[in-house]
């Protein structure tokens, strides 16, 4: 039984909880069992927020716990200012990857793990959606980095979950995130 674990780092209002709730049906479509866990806090806009997703390889595999993710395989950091105040790499598993929303390159970031991917999600969100909310871009990045869910399934989940007037822009944001995430170590593990 393999459980893959994802942790989102963001600030309140950046859509981390929504991201977890949208990637979940995408992963289910992919034929996996899935659990999306928001951090249960009293945080407000601007305060650090976490969300978690766990998923398996097949739909009938059990996810035995309902706890937060302390040992992630993937970390998605939606706000690079958090790098100064949080250890986004805490508990990262061997072979795990961190994805950071930044215009900088991995070498310029002070993140001491083997696999760091970057995406200028802020710019993409502005282009595609006309806002600063980067969560759907991040989902595209996740698809690219993990290889565990197709971008088509991510887009379908976005279409299902988002209100009609913002579905297309967010789907586009995800596609662009998928295409434009820099993955320095090459093709994603399957």
């Amino acid at each position: 039984m393999t459980v893959h674990r994802v942790r989102f780092h963001a600030r309140g209002g950046q859509g981390a909880v929504t991201a977890a709730k949208v990637i979940a049906p995408a992963l289910y479509r992919e034929g996996r069992n899935v659990q999306a866990v928001p951090a249960f806090g009293v945080e407000r806009r601007g305060a650090p927020v976490h969300a978690y997703v766990k998923y398996t390889d097949a739909v009938d595999e059990l996810i035995p716990t309902r706890t937060y993710v302390h040992e992630p395989d993937y970390v998605l950091c939606l706000d690079e200012t958090l790098l100064e105040t949080e250890d986004v790499t805490a508990g990262l598993q061997p072979g795990g990857a961190v994805v950071i929303n930044t215009a900088r390159s991995p070498d310029d970031l002070d993140v001491d793990v083997d696999r760091v991917a970057t995406v200028d999600a802020g710019r993409i969100a502005q282009e595609a959606v006309g806002s600063t909310i980067v969560n759907t871009v991040a989902l595209g990045s996740f698809a690219a980095v993990s290889g565990d869910v197709s971008i088509e399934n991510v887009v379908e989940a976005i279409m299902e979950r988002f209100p009609a007037d913002i579905q297309e822009p967010n789907a586009e944001a995800a596609r662009l995130g998928y295409e434009q995430t820099a993955v320095p170590w090459g093709t994603a593990p399957s």
Binding site: A20, N33, Q35, V37, D60, P64, T65, R66
Partner: protein, 412 residues
């Protein structure tokens, strides 16, 4: 009583024409309630169940649910208004947690004494102060004497299924008692996972409309003025009324078993009735669980069995009525029984432990232990469950209990 293990992500059958969606526990509960077609809904917002009221309001506003929805001003009034509505013969629904449940405590007794089959979802939450909105089971467990049926769901799917089942159980002619469906606040209410939503047609077929013999509506229509809940002095029939109420509580056990079986036949999912024993038959040590910890306990039990350690899990689903005899029978050959719960009753022990220990009191040489954990939403990990099994195995080996109650996960 042994369930066929439901698949982790159950596939819908053609018969039930269902769809599978990734839902939170709150959403699943709301869907379950909606499918039961309540006619009057009255709920007050409280973390962690507010999403249930919001989702129900959404269903009513969109026309998916034809119900009167009260923007009610308190939990006490929520239950009061449903008591009034239920008396007319309408099917009713509410949801609450913790402080809200405590606030309506007076009315819980009114509903059960009134023999009104109101159904309520409880997103289990801790009792404050210190102020804490996170999940533990103190709220519903502390209301165990209120006369309500109490059923505990392990995950989002079971929450949905139990909401539908609760109406059928509660409204049975020989029961007519209110029922609460409890599930962990946050650990179930807020977590999203795949859930099968049965079709309305299939649920209508399974759950007929509520049509009680006696009601204010019937009384008006018949031109036969009936008096409900009138003053009943000591020498009048109060004591007899209560006896009949108690008997109904006993009969609820049969209904819980029956409805689980019928639900399984119709929808392809059985959850076990009063309880669900897992690898209990040849166990030397069994951990009794309630709610979502069951999933973790079963995973750890499998791990221990791989190492030839004879452990099992007994998932208690019905806390009220408490299946004393049935529990004693299924556990009679198990030398050591532990109970894990997220509450404490008084001193160091919990409510569930008290009832389990009393039920097993006549089994010779059996040892029991209590584990209190997870209060105020504190995480309960596989490591904690291993600690519990290790303690039970040690008890099994030494033949004596070193500490009757352990608080697992607390820093001293």
């Amino acid at each position: 009583m042994t369930a066929e293990q439901p698949r982790v992500t159950p596939e819908p059958t053609d018969e039930t024409a269902a769809e599978t969606r990734v839902l939170t526990g709150n959403e699943a509960a709301a869907h379950g309630a909606k499918l039961a077609r309540p006619e009057v809904v009255s709920a007050y917002p409280i973390t962690p169940q507010s999403a249930i009221s919001e989702t129900m309001a959404g269903f009513v506003a969109s026309g998916e649910l034809d119900a009167k929805l009260f923007r009610i001003e308190s939990e006490h009034s929520a239950m009061s208004s449903l008591i009034g509505a239920s008396l007319t013969g309408a099917r009713t629904f509410t949801a609450t947690a913790s402080n809200g449940l405590f606030y309506m405590a007076e009315m819980l007794h009114f509903a059960s004494g009134g023999r009104l089959p109101i159904v309520m979802a409880v997103a289990n939450r801790a009792a404050s102060p210190p102020w804490n909105v996170w999940g533990d089971q103190s709220d519903s467990l502390s209301q165990r004497d209120s006369g309500w049926i109490q059923l505990y769901a392990e995950n989002c799917q079971e929450a949905l299924d139990l909401l539908i089942q609760a109406y059928r159980i509660a409204e049975s002619d020989d029961v007519m008692l209110p029922a609460m469906v409890a599930f962990d606040g946050f650990q179930v209410s807020h977590i999203s996972e795949p859930v099968v939503i049965p079709s309305q047609e299939a649920v209508d077929d399974f759950l007929p409309p509520y049509d009680p013999e006696d009601s204010l509506a019937q009384s008006l229509v018949d031109g036969d003025p009936k008096a409900f809940h009138h003053i009943t002095p000591p020498e009048a029939s109060f004591f007899e009324y209560k006896y009949r109420q108690a008997q109904a509580g006993e009969r609820a056990k049969d209904r819980i078993e029956e409805v689980d079986r019928l639900f399984g036949e119709r929808f392809g999912r059985r959850w076990g009735g009063l309880f669900d024993p897992y690898r209990v038959d040849d166990a030397g040590v069994v951990l009794v669980t309630l709610g979502s910890l069951t999933t973790t306990a079963k995973a750890v039990a499998d791990e221990y069995r791989e190492k030839d350690l004879p452990v099992g899990v007994l998932k208690l689903r019905s806390f009220r009525p408490f299946p004393e005899d049935e529990l004693a029978t299924v556990l009679e050959d198990v030398p050591v029984v532990g109970v894990v719960e997220k509450d404490h009753s008084f001193g160091l022990t919990g409510s569930v432990y008290g009832d389990v220990a009393a039920a097993l009191t006549n089994v010779d040489g059996q040892l029991t232990q209590n584990f209190v954990t997870g209060l105020g939403g504190r995480e309960v990990t596989t490591e904690h469950i291993r600690e519990m099994y290790d303690a039970l195995l040690e008890t099994h080996d030494t033949g004596c209990v070193d500490r009757r109650s352990r608080w697992v996960g607390v820093s001293r």
